[in-house]
Symmetry: C2
Subunit: 513 residues, 2 copies
């Protein structure tokens, strides 16, 4: 395997030095087309972003699907809105007689829930352009009106709106790549597009959809168009993603708040109990102390280890961006850390703090935890390990709020609820012929060495596609890493969109052999 990889690296350099910048017609064609049409591209994108896309908002989800169908049909893609028991899937096909390969692209058009109050001055579904990155309290570039043709659109500008990056950027990116190549008469592969409408709700109806439409969805490889590109901003491919499952734990004290003077030192304090329980589960350096937590992890392959080593570190920049001096220390690097399962405390709540604080012993304390899993981990197995650990700390584990009888029977009671069943991790071997072929193609057409990530830290329901359709999956993320994914002020950097269009174009061009 090592010889193969060395050969590949050698080939990489041969290819790289054999072509000069203008030997890459796709990149040039796409750049020229984009430069001529950038206002039109952004205008169409902002129209899409104006449609609210929270999964539970059925009416607007339907509007999204219809708007996307129109966008696709404009590019000659044969499109249909396919119903599921939840939100519809927008499916499209673009066949090209000479093509021998069929590439399918997955995007989700729904977005995370929003709290408009938390957005800085603008509304989540009223997209605005800002001439730079918003840093609350530090830097607040004011929204600029949609620019007249005399003003050059700059790469550092950003579009602020829910779904601008996660995950509507790939929709405009892919369709613009198709359009640009079609316009120049460049032949394409056979293309399929599958756009899901409830990924942020946990993709509850994706599996039956995939099973039902196996024939329709047949392809050589599926590209997941989601997530952020590597920090360097270079074209990025990822070969897997962590899985996710989440749970909520509530521990109990008295059945109502009690006066901390009359009962302090005597009535059990659930906030203290929760602190001890969480502290017993993991240390402050990310090391999970739950028995067997790392047992089922499948070790990294040599190719994956070498890929990780070849990627430049952006840790200093990230720490500075996020304002902390030292990461958790259990793993050697961020890139290594996300190759292992994590136990994240997403939130804790008990009693009141701040202006609302009361001198009481609260009746309960709750923590929300997610488990990010890697290849080898099963969601049920991992949740059970956590539950087993809670039991080992002396807790009676229950699934509902304890009744009086249960309260009087057990000293320590923990209610554990599965918040999100979730799904496991997936990885495509980086050294498979298919993976090698895609890497090489991207490199040849763009003239750049892409960043190759064995796995994203984030989670995508990739395993579903793989298990149902039996195809390999590779990710092409294009968003800027600081896109505020899942948060207020979500944004997309324009330069990243431009690079994304070029990356997609390099992938969808018909193979020349």
């Amino acid at each position: 395997m090592k010889i193969r990889l060395k050969f590949f690296l050698l080939m990489t350099f041969v290819v790289f030095f054999a072509f000069s910048a203008n030997s890459f017609p796709s990149k040039k064609i796409v750049q020229e087309y984009r430069e001529k049409h950038e206002r039109q591209i952004l205008k169409e994108f902002m129209e899409l972003l104006s449609i609210p896309n929270v999964s539970s908002d059925k009416k607007n989800i339907q509007k999204n699907a219809e708007f996307i169908k129109t966008m696709m049909e404009k590019r000659g893609i044969e499109t249909r809105i396919m119903e599921t028991k939840g939100n519809p899937v927008v499916f499209g096909e673009l066949n090209n007689p000479q093509a021998t390969q069929t590439y399918m692209f997955y995007v989700h058009y729904d977005g995370q829930p929003v709290d408009p109050e938390e957005w800085t001055d603008t509304q989540p579904f009223e997209p605005v352009l800002r001439p730079g990155k918003l840093i609350p309290g530090t830097h607040k570039p004011r929204p600029i009106p949609f620019p007249d043709p005399s003003k050059k659109i700059k790469e550092d500008w950003r579009i602020y709106a829910r779904g601008s990056s996660d995950d509507r950027a790939p929709i405009i990116g892919l369709l613009t790549a198709v359009e640009a190549l079609q316009n120049a008469g460049v032949p394409l592969k056979n293309l399929k597009f599958i756009m899901e409408g409830e990924e942020e709700a946990g993709s509850p109806h994706l599996e039956p959809f995939l099973k039902k439409h196996q024939d329709l969805l047949r392809c050589d490889v599926l590209f997941m168009c989601d997530g952020p590109a590597y920090y360097s901003g270079d074209p990025t491919l990822f070969f897997g993603a962590r899985g996710i499952t989440s749970m909520e734990i509530t521990v109990y004290g008295p059945n109502t708040s009690v006066h901390s003077g009359h009962y302090g030192n005597w009535a059990p304090n659930p906030a203290v109990r929760l602190s001890h329980l969480l502290a017993s589960m993991r240390d402050t350096d990310g090391r999970v102390k739950i028995k067997g937590y790392y047992d089922s992890v499948i070790p990294l392959t040599k190719a994956e280890k070498e890929a990780l080593e070849s990627i430049p570190s952006y840790e200093e920049e990230i720490k500075k961006n996020y304002g902390f001096s030292q990461p958790e220390q259990n793993w050697d690097s961020l890139l290594e850390a996300i190759q292992y399962p994590a136990l994240n405390v997403n939130g804790i709540q008990s009693g009141w703090v701040g202006d609302q604080a009361r001198t009481i012993i609260p009746p309960s304390a709750t923590a929300h935890l997610d488990i990010r899993m890697v290849k080898g981990n099963e969601p049920e197995e991992m949740r059970q390990k956590v539950i087993h650990h809670i039991k080992e700390q002396g807790y009676k584990v229950v699934s509902r709020a304890p009744d009086k009888k249960t309260r009087m029977k057990y000293n320590k009671i923990a209610r554990v609820v599965e918040s999100e069943k979730g799904y496991k991790a997936y990885k495509t071997p980086m050294d498979s012929p298919l993976a090698q072929n895609v890497i090489q193609g991207l490199q040849e057409h763009t003239g750049e060495k892409p960043v190759l990530l064995p796995s994203l830290g984030g989670s995508l329901p990739i395993y579903l596609f793989h298990e149902t359709l039996g195809i390999p999956i590779i990710g092409i993320p294009i968003a800027n890493h600081d896109n505020n994914q899942h948060q207020p002020d979500e944004n997309l950097r324009i330069g990243h969109l431009w690079t994304g269009i070029e990356t997609y174009a390099a992938i969808i061009m018909r193979e020349q052999e």
Copy 2:
């Protein structure tokens, strides 16, 4: 000292057996008067409870003061509303030429803030009678209209309203006792009344008031009329109260929420940090692990220890009431536990849980802590011990949210804010002649052995009176222990009010010697 106490106990029995029930004229007089006027008593009380009494509500606080002044003047008490830099004090005097002793009574007429949403079906300032105790989810006795004279008012009924127990019950209790004895021509001691309007806001202007009016406030003993009577419902005296101070601790992770997939295992998780920090401070059995936390505690006297041993335990009932099977185990009993300093976690908050949960690493985690202090502990000393402990866990302690520079300089940062400066504990020696005299008087006039508590678990600014006026202080709490003090659905059991009136009457009767 032991001999003295034994003598006292012996005397107790002698007194007890020497008098039969109708040998206690004050009790009988008061009972007969009360039985004839109970509707009128409750009506006046409910009128008072209808006036909102949250400290910050200046307009209504003034209304309270005026209403109370009218109530006092009706009983011939010379009353004035005395301004402070905060809420006014209502002060009254009732002199009786033959009396040789002056007893002063402290009450606060303000109440804890309210969240009407959390009250069960009724409003905090629309008092209602319920024919029993409200136990949410279990027992919900429906409000009954103010009873017509054909219906007997029952002792188990309760009045639900903010301030019904804490601390407006003593107002109606004291004034009814005065009225009943006056009506029967029973001579009284010299009486003074001091009614504060901002105790629940931390009594910020009490000290200057006391200093300014030392002459006016001269007396032999001050009775604190606040807090709950002992669980048995018997007349209760307490000889001290724990002090209180509180603080808020915030620890930090990234400067904004970050995606738990992309950064989980690497970005510092403040919820985990806070859990470890709190777990390092105390165990789940109430034992504080902070260095020197118990060093300044003045040990209990023999009299106090013996008093504690003589009080019947109500722990089984309390545990059943509050739905837990086992208290914290560090102290042998509830009565013992509250004689020692406590470190209570009142609330913790980080990120989101429940429906709002997001799969993120939150930017910060906050805990609100109160310290309940006993004799010997100083608020500043105790807070500093906690701060020292936080520093020993590797934290840079700051007083404001850290700026970028601080964030990049220190790995672990904790913001510690003093929420309530608070005040220290106070105790009157139980074996002092004054204390013995009061105990004996109460016993003689009611024919019952009162419950004698060396200290309440709760906090009252007693030390202030003692230090400023140089007088001993004894508490006479009359509210039911399950009054939901500081919580929604605060209530007063009618039977406790009746006993309270009898207890006050026994205290204010002129000494017969």
